[in-house]
């Protein structure tokens, strides 16, 4: 475990979390949420939690993002905040 690497990912995590909550376009928010999940997955793989990382890659970055996009396309794409 290299702590510099870890720290960089953690900082990016905070940034992506903030971006995905602040963009007004919900489709982008869903995509950036996928990026957030993928970074999280990298972080966990670094922490020797391979099973958790695998699951997060499949679920967080894959399926959750698809569910979000499906809902965004079925409702409204714009958000007021």
């Amino acid at each position: 475990m290299i702590w510099q690497f870890d720290l960089i990912i953690l900082v990016f995590l905070v940034i992506t979390a903030l971006i995905s909550l602040s963009v007004k376009d919900l489709l982008s928010a869903a995509m950036i949420f996928g990026v957030y999940s993928f970074l999280m997955c990298l972080l966990w793989a670094g922490m020797a939690a391979v099973d958790v990382a695998f699951t997060e890659a499949a679920v967080g970055a894959g399926v959750s993002a698809v569910f979000l996009i499906a809902t965004v396309l079925r409702t409204s794409r714009r958000s007021s905040d």
Binding site: V66, F67, R74
Partner: protein
């Protein structure tokens, strides 16, 4: 927040959580007691198998709940929300790529399910990947094409059967006179020693989980993507 300073240092092997006999036992004894090298799978499916059974139930519940909330039977499309971005007819490149990809994805999913004892993976991850392959099919063509492969009724039966497989292993050990989910007793009906019976039962349980997860992931997607009408997806 002040509690953080009270936490053990990050990565400390001697922190209470890591040094207590619980974690040590899982690390050192798993191979002897269950003959499974992947400790996560062993703890997941055996030591804490009851949790995992309800984890499967959570997925199953979510699937049924979404059908309960969103599904519209019959033809009342009058208040259906139209997708805001409408997709055109299938594109040649996407179609061909997906046609190539989907079998490979499914093969990989099967590998992940079956090889969960020895490498990262297991029923849940494999199930999600398998479900994702159907989702990819539905995205690349449309929902109708995917529905032809896996109609809604069959999906639900598959999900229910998955949970039943898991619970059936538990029930089997209960009927053979041991506590619920005590797989070791299943060696009476399996060609294996009690310890290997645990390993084999774990495989069976993982397959059950994979069934449910595959089915429910696709079911959730198709309900969300079609706003409950199951007619046209994205």
């Amino acid at each position: 927040m002040s509690a953080v300073s009270d936490f053990p240092d990050w990565g400390d092997p001697n922190s209470p959580a890591n040094s207590y006999r619980l974690s040590q036992h899982y690390v050192t004894e798993t191979i002897h007691e269950t003959s499974v090298p992947n400790m996560v799978t062993a703890v997941l499916a055996d030591y804490r198998g009851y949790d995992t059974m309800f984890e499967t139930v959570v997925i199953f519940t979510a699937g049924i709940a979404i059908i309960g909330i969103l599904r519209r039977f019959g033809n009342d499309d009058k208040d259906a929300a139209k997708p805001t971005l409408y997709t055109k007819k299938p594109d040649l490149i996407i179609d061909t790529t997906c046609r190539l990809m989907i079998p490979i994805i499914q093969l990989f999913a099967l590998y992940v399910i079956a090889h969960g004892h020895h490498s990262p993976g297991g029923g849940f991850q494999g199930g999600v990947i398998f479900g994702a392959s159907f989702i990819l099919l539905a995205v690349s063509r449309d929902l109708q094409a995917a529905q032809k492969w896996v109609p809604e009724k069959r999906i639900l039966n598959l999900a229910g059967i998955g949970v039943l497989i898991y619970a059936g292993f538990g029930l089997g050990s209960l009927l053979l006179g041991q506590n619920f989910l005590d797989y070791a007793i299943l060696h009476k009906i399996m060609p294996a020693t009690p310890i290997e019976a645990r390993s084999h039962s774990m495989l069976g349980v993982e397959i059950g989980v994979a069934f449910t997860v595959t089915a429910i992931m696709f079911s959730i997607y198709s309900n969300l993507a079609s706003n409950g009408s199951m007619k046209e997806g994205l």
